[in-house]
C-alpha cells in the first residue's frame, strides 16, 4: 500500500473537522474523495501534506509515518499537493514558479527533463514562460499549478479541486491530463466537488460527510449507488 490513513482526527480550535478518517491508496491508483463543502476534503489533503497536525491517528506513506514530519520533508518523500485555488506565486514568473516546484531537487539536467515533460503536457506554459504568474488566466494558472506540482516528480500527487472555476472544456482537458499523468506511474489522490468527472477517471472513491467516510467502493460502484447519484451526481 502506498498511502494508509488511519483513524485521523483533526481539529480547528474547537471544531472537530476530521472525525476518525480511514482510507488507503494503492500504488498506481487514482483515488477520489468526494463530498460537499466543509466535508473535510481539503483538511485531509492539508493534513497529509503536513500543513495541519492531527490530534490523533496516523498517515503512513510507504510505511513511513508522516504525521510528525514537517511539510517540506514530506514533499521530499514525493508526496506533493496542488492546492485548491491554484495558489500561484503571482509575483514570480511562470518559469520561476516551475523552479519552485523543483525546489527539493538539485540535479539541473533532471530538472530540465522534467520541465520538458511539463511543457509537453502544457504547451501553453512554454509560451508564457517569462510572464508573471499573476497575469495568467484561470485555466493557465491551473495548468501552471499542476505543472509546478509535477516538477518535483511526485510519487503521489494530491490534487485539490483541479476543476474549480474552470470552463467545461478546460475541465475535460485537465482531467485527461490527470489520466495521462497517472498512466506514467504517478498515483493520484483527487479531491473534487465535481463528482461526476472525478468518478469517471478514478479507480476507487470515498464519500466524505462532516469529517467521516460514509461510503467507499470502486468508481463504478459509487456511480451506481443511488445515494451518491442523488446527492452528488445530480440525478434523480
Amino acid at each position: 500500500m502506498l498511502l494508509e490513513v488511519e483513524n485521523l482526527h483533526v481539529y480547528y480550535g474547537a471544531i472537530h473537522a476530521l472525525q476518525g478518517l480511514t482510507f488507503h491508496l494503492e500504488e498506481g491508483e487514482i483515488v477520489t474523495l468526494i463530498g460537499a463543502n466543509g466535508a473535510g476534503k481539503s483538511t485531509t489533503l492539508n493534513t497529509i501534506s503536513g500543513l495541519l497536525r492531527p490530534r490523533e491517528g496516523s498517515i503512513r506513506f510507504k510505511g513511513q509515518e508522516l504525521t510528525r514530519m514537517r511539510a517540506h520533508d514530506i514533499v521530499r518523500l514525493g508526496v506533493v499537493q496542488v492546492p485548491e485555488g491554484r495558489k500561484i506565486f503571482a509575483t514570480l514568473t511562470v518559469s520561476e514558479n516551475l523552479d519552485m516546484g523543483a525546489y527539493t531537487r538539485t540535479d539541473p539536467a533532471e530538472i530540465a527533463r522534467s520541465r520538458e515533460r511539463v511543457f509537453a503536457s502544457f504547451p501553453r506554459l512554454e509560451e508564457r514562460l517569462n510572464q508573471l504568474g499573476g497575469t495568467l488566466s484561470g485555466g493557465e494558472q491551473q495548468m501552471l499549478a499542476m505543472g509546478r506540482g509535477l516538477m518535483s516528480r511526485p510519487t503521489l500527487l494530491l490534487l485539490d479541486e483541479p476543476s474549480m472555476g474552470l470552463a467545461p472544456i478546460l475541465v475535460e482537458e485537465i482531467f485527461s491530463i490527470i489520466q495521462e499523468i497517472n498512466s506514467q506511474g504517478t498515483s493520484i489522490l483527487l479531491v473534487e466537488q465535481n463528482a461526476n468527472m472525478a468518478l469517471s477517471i478514478a479507480h476507487r472513491g470515498y464519500v466524505l460527510e462532516t469529517g467521516r467516510i460514509v461510503l467507499e467502493g470502486t468508481a463504478q460502484e459509487l456511480r451506481d449507488n443511488p445515494q451518491v447519484k442523488k446527492a452528488y451526481l445530480g440525478e434523480a
Binding site: R70, A71, P83, K87, F89, A90, M100, Y103
Partner: protein, 430 residues
C-alpha cells in the same frame, strides 16, 4: 502621461513666471540710484505693493492649481468617494505648498541660498547622497523582513548599532584592520588597509547576522501565528534590551565615544565641494551590496524561495520550501547589510552612542515605506530621497527640523500614494 506633463508645465510655469517677475523687479529696483529711487518712489511703498500683488498672484495661482488637481482627481477616481479625493487633493496641495516654501527658502530667503552659494548646495547634495546610501543599506533589511513576515522589525536599528560597535572593538581592541599588514608585510600599505577594512566589515556583518538569527529565534519565531501586535511588542522589547543592556557601564557606556577609522580620511575639493574617500567608499560598497542583493533575490534559488514565501507561506511549504529556514536567512541577510551600514556610518560620522541606531533605523524604515515597503528598488530610491531631504532641510531650514521634515514628507507621500512610490495598490493580492 499627457495630464502629468500638463500638471508639470503648470507647476513649473507658475514658478518660472514668479521667479522671472521677481527677478525683473529686483533688477529694475537695484539699477536705480538712490536719487532716482527718491524721485520715483518717494515713500518706498512700491516694494511693499509689489510684494502684496505677488502674494495675491501666488494665492490665485495656487488656488487654481488646487482646483485643477481636484478636478483631475475627481475625473481619475470617478466614484471613489469624497474621502479619497479629499485625501489626494490635500496631499497634493500640501506637497506643492511645502515644496514651494522649500524652494523659496532654498533660493530666495536663505542668506546662503542656492543662487548665492551654489557650492554649499552641491555640498549638501553630496552629503545627502552619502547619508542616503547608508540608509539604503539599513532600509533593505527592513523591507525584506517586512515583505516576508509583515513585521516592522524595530530591533533592526539596534542591529545596525551593534554593527558599529563591533567594528569599534575590532579596530580599537583587536586591531583587525592592521592584521593583513602584520601577516603579510610584503603587501603594499594601501592593499593591506583595504583588506583590513573589508575584514572589519565582514566581521560586523557576521556578528549582526548571528545576532539577528538569535533575535528571530527567540523573539519572533514563537509568535509567528500569534496576532501581529505581539511580535511588534517583542521587537520593541528587543530594541530596548539591546540599547539599555549595552549602555550599562559593565557592558559599555551610555556616553558618546570617539570612533577610530580604519583608514585615513582624505578629502578632495572638486569645484569647491568637499568629497572624502569615505563618501566614495560608502557609495561603492552600497552599490556593490545592492547588486549582490538583487542577484540573491532574483537570481538564486534561495531568493526565489524568499519571494515565494513572502507571497504565500502555506503554498511555499507545499513546494518543499523550509519556510522557517527562509525567514531566518532573510533576517540574516538584512542584518548583515545593516551591519555593513553600521561600519560605514561610523566611519562617516565617527561618534558612537548606544542609542545611535534609533533615528537612522527609523528613517531607513520611513525610506522603505516611502518607496513602497517590500520593494527593493523602492527602498533604495526612498533612502536616497530621505538622505537628500534630511541634508537639505538641515541646511536650508533648521538643523533640528530634519527629523520633522522626513516624517512630513512621509505623511504627504502616503496621502498621495497610500502604498508608497513603488508599492502596488493594496488589495491586489488575492
Amino acid at each position: 502621461m499627457n495630464r502629468t506633463l500638463k500638471s508639470l508645465a503648470l507647476f513649473l510655469g507658475g514658478i518660472a513666471l514668479g521667479v522671472a517677475a521677481a527677478g525683473l523687479f529686483m533688477l529694475f529696483h537695484s539699477s536705480l540710484t538712490p536719487q532716482e529711487l527718491e524721485a520715483w518712489d518717494k515713500d518706498g511703498v512700491v516694494p511693499g505693493l509689489v510684494m502684496q500683488a505677488g502674494s495675491i498672484g501666488f494665492g490665485v495661482w495656487f488656488l487654481y492649481l488646487v482646483g485643477w488637481i481636484t478636478r483631475s482627481q475627481i475625473r481619475k477616481q470617478a466614484g471613489a468617494g469624497f474621502g479619497k479625493i479629499a485625501r489626494s487633493v490635500a496631499g497634493n496641495a500640501l506637497m506643492i505648498l511645502l515644496g514651494l516654501w522649500f524652494l523659496w527658502r532654498m533660493f530666495i530667503q536663505h542668506p546662503e541660498g542656492v543662487l548665492i552659494n551654489p557650492t554649499l548646495f552641491a555640498q549638501y547634495i553630496v552629503d545627502g547622497i552619502r547619508l542616503g546610501f547608508v540608509y539604503a543599506l539599513i532600509s533593505l533589511g527592513y523591507t525584506m523582513v517586512y515583505g516576508i513576515v509583515r513585521l516592522i522589525n524595530f530591533a533592526h536599528g539596534d542591529v545596525f548599532m551593534v554593527g558599529s560597535f563591533t567594528s569599534f572593538y575590532a579596530i580599537k581592541a583587536m586591531r583587525l584592520h592592521l592584521l593583513p599588514a602584520k601577516l603579510f608585510p610584503s603587501l603594499s600599505q594601501w592593499v593591506a588597509i583595504t583588506i583590513g577594512t573589508v575584514l572589519v566589515i565582514i566581521l560586523s556583518m557576521l556578528v549582526c547576522a548571528l545576532l539577528a538569527i538569535t533575535i528571530e529565534r527567540v523573539a519572533y519565531k514563537p509568535l509567528r501565528n500569534a496576532p501581529r501586535i505581539a511580535a511588534l511588542i517583542t521587537a520593541i522589547s528587543v530594541s530596548f534590551f539591546l540599547e539599555y543592556f549595552s549602555s550599562l557601564p559593565e557592558v559599555f557606556t551610555s556616553n558618546y565615544i570617539i570612533y577610530e577609522q580604519p583608514f585615513k580620511v582624505v578629502s578632495w575639493k572638486i569645484l569647491g565641494v568637499q568629497i572624502s574617500n569615505v563618501t566614495i567608499i560608502i557609495i561603492l560598497v552600497s552599490i556593490l551590496f545592492l547588486l549582490l542583493l538583487r542577484w540573491i533575490v532574483y537570481g538564486t534559488k534561495t531568493g526565489k524561495a524568499m519571494r515565494a514565501t513572502s507571497w504565500d507561506k502555506p503554498t511555499a511549504r507545499l513546494m518543499g520550501i523550509d519556510v522557517d529556514n527562509v525567514i531566518t536567512k532573510t533576517f540574516a541577510i538584512g542584518a548583515a547589510l545593516a551591519g555593513a551600514g553600521g561600519v560605514l556610518y561610523a566611519i562617516a560620522y565617527p561618534q558612537l552612542i548606544v542609542f545611535m541606531g534609533i533615528m537612522p533605523g527609523l528613517k531607513a524604515f520611513v525610506a522603505a515605506v516611502l518607496g513602497g515597503i517590500g520593494n527593493l528598488t523602492g527602498a533604495f530610491v526612498g533612502s536616497l530621497i530621505m538622505g537628500q531631504a534630511e541634508m537639505l532641510s538641515a541646511g536650508y531650514i533648521l538643523t533640528p527640523m530634519r527629523d520633522a521634515i522626513a516624517f512630513t514628507i512621509l505623511i504627504i507621500v502616503l496621502l498621495i500614494r497610500p502604498t508608497g512610490i513603488f508599492g502596488e495598490p493594496e488589495g491586489e493580492k488575492a
